[in-house]
């Protein structure tokens, strides 16, 4: 059995009277692609926020690579190899696509108290950045300002930036949000290629993508994990079907549609 890269222990977060994370416990083995699904307001983004360090939990613990990171600030977790993409693209709009990724490379290339040399001419930053851009399918747009990229391209740039730091765990917060069919198909392909070499925690509404990619799926409802397991088990789980009441037909249909892909 593979060692757990991420261990979440009874993580709890309240906002006033609302329990956004209700004693969430989850183990994610190294190399797994783990998807978290759940209806709107289930607390998915709050969970990501606690994992990255932007939100402090009220109780519970987060262990990353056998190290307790519950109290570490955002940048320290990032340095340890925990990268994220944002649900709403969060880029450096007035930098080019390549500059965006190069900055992510720079963040993991020692301290940046270097005041003299032109950072845009440093091959040690530019080459890995170009490679990350290429693997996200954006090589041709390297010199375009992030602000001028299409929505789908910005999502791809998000992934490229997350990959540029050579993370061990990739947290993807609804990477397909607002993507067209073609773009999301391409992104699924990109993620499929990453599978195995990288541990991924995927939060996604696109059920086709989730069932096609995930090794295991956890279902979050009102801050609680009501089910966790392989795709087939999740699809058959009565509690899950209950939670997705009204979406049941969709859940069943999309599950069937991506059955072949999941098996392949």
């Amino acid at each position: 059995m593979a060692e757990n890269l991420l261990e979440i222990e009874v993580l709890t977060k309240r906002f006033g009277g609302v329990i956004a994370s209700d004693a969430i416990s989850l183990d994610i083995p190294a190399g797994e692609l783990h998807a978290i699904i759940g209806p709107n307001g289930a607390g998915k983004t709050t969970l990501i926020g606690q994992l990255t360090g932007e939100i402090a939990p009220d109780a519970g613990r987060i262990r990353f690579a056998s190290r307790d990171i519950t109290a570490l600030p955002v940048y320290r977790r990032s340095r340890l190899g925990l990268a994220r993409s944002f649900q709403i693209s969060s880029l450096f709009a007035d930098f080019t696509a390549l500059d965006n990724v190069a900055l992510a490379v720079q963040a993991h290339a020692g301290h940046s108290f270097r005041f003299w040399r032109d950072a845009r001419s440093e091959a040690a930053l530019r080459e890995p950045a170009r490679a990350a851009l290429a693997s996200a399918g954006l090589a041709a747009r390297a010199d375009t300002l992030a602000a001028d990229l299409s929505h789908g391209e910005r999502r791809q740039l998000e992934i490229a930036m997350a990959l540029a730091g050579r993370p061990r765990l990739l947290l993807l917060d609804e990477p397909m949000a607002g993507m067209g069919f073609e773009e999301s198909t391409r992104l699924v392909e990109t993620l499929r290629q990453l599978k195995g070499s990288l541990t991924v925690l995927l939060i996604e509404h696109d059920m086709d993508a989730v069932f096609a990619l995930a090794d295991r799926i956890s279902v979050l409802v009102y801050g609680r994990v009501i089910a966790s397991g392989e795709a087939a088990a999740i699809r058959a789980d009565p509690a899950v079907r209950q939670a997705y009441l009204g979406e049941t037909a969709y859940l069943g249909e999309s599950g069937g549609a991506s059955q072949g892909a999941a098996d392949g």
Partner: protein, 327 residues
């Protein structure tokens, strides 16, 4: 094939090199270099005095632009560094330490230390609160200076001897002092240019653009912004030392909050993303102020609307206007 490519590359480089902005900047520098000659030809020494002031305040505006234009840290207390640098020179002169080799490093170090303290507190906040804290600290320093009875209190202090640099440079010689200010400004512009394109500079600019994302990709942004704040403070402290030598006088008025406002106006007027923007802004501001003061008792009545026009229509400032081009 490859030689063809090299040729077109060279042509692109040639075209890139001589842009309208470069041309305008070159003319600007040539004019500034010739000011003392022109003044001696027309025997109008006031011109040198006026342009020395332009150069000094351009250095101050340049330092403000580093944190404001590139770092997104709008400080409404930047004139405090002019005062600290100036008082370092004035106080040491009064106490009998006339050497510039002591006075100027003290001016720079005191300003850097003050920036470290202000930055450590204010950079934990942002936006409106950041502006208010920088203003509050500057007001505090202003009242401290007013309370220094030994050094003139509210009335200020006359500096009877300018900083001495032995045989290197004689600050009592207007022309030499002018060229010293000119050289320091050019060095400052070059330094800022190197900084904003370095790894450090990209971190600062990234934090201005999207600080949350900077943390997410692994940057402890606070310490970089703090160091940037200290560099800007030190640079402005040097401008303060120059200013005290220029006017032979220091008083709390040189760090009044409206002086900080003037520096912001200069930086915005000249264009915050153009390297020569602060110089263009300081020059426009001070020359207009001077010209208008001959015409009206209320030059602000004209300067105010002018700034409004720049803010509304000219986001890159005057420097941005000159650089505007396609392709």
């Amino acid at each position: 094939m490859s030689s063809l490519r090299a040729m077109s590359l060279a042509r692109i480089r040639r075209g890139d090199w001589l842009t309208p902005r470069v041309a305008v900047n070159a003319v600007l520098l040539a004019v500034l270099a010739l000011v003392p000659f022109y003044a001696s030809l027309t025997s109008d020494p006031f011109l040198v005095t006026l342009f020395t002031r332009v150069l000094i305040l351009a250095l101050a505006a340049l330092s403000l632009n580093l944190i404001m234009g590139f770092g997104g840290m709008v400080s409404l207390g930047h004139a405090a560094y002019l005062g600290i640098g100036g008082y370092a020179v004035g106080i040491l002169a009064k106490e009998g330490i006339g050497s510039g080799f002591v006075q100027w490093p003290v001016a720079v170090a005191a300003s850097a230390l003050y920036a470290l303290a202000v930055g450590a507190l204010s950079l934990r906040t942002r936006g409106f609160y950041f502006i208010m804290i920088t203003l509050a600290f500057a007001q505090m320093i202003y009242y401290v200076a007013s309370g220094l009875d030994r050094y003139g209190g509210d009335d200020g202090l006359t500096i009877y001897r300018r900083s001495r640099f032995g045989a290197f440079v004689d600050l009592d010689n207007k022309t030499q002092f002018y060229y010293l200010c000119f050289a320091l400004l050019l060095a400052g512009i070059y330094l800022v240019w190197r900084i904003v394109n370095s790894r450090f500079g990209l971190v600062i600019r990234g934090a201005r653009s999207n600080e949350r994302r900077m943390r997410a990709i692994g940057f402890p942004t606070f310490r970089y912004k703090l160091v940037c704040f200290v560099i800007a403070g030190a640079m402005c402290g040097l401008a303060g030392a120059l200013l005290a030598n220029h006017t032979n006088f220091i008083s709390p008025a040189m760090m009044h909050w409206t002086r900080s406002g003037d520096l912001i106006v200069m930086a915005v007027l000249g264009g915050m993303h153009a390297m020569f923007g602060p110089l263009i802004g300081a020059m426009t501001f001070l020359l207009l102020e001077e010209a208008l003061s001959h015409v009206t008792d209320y030059p602000d009545l004209i300067l105010g609307p002018l700034l409004l026009l720049v803010a509304i229509y000219l986001h890159g400032g005057i420097g941005g206007l000159i650089g505007a081009r396609r392709g």
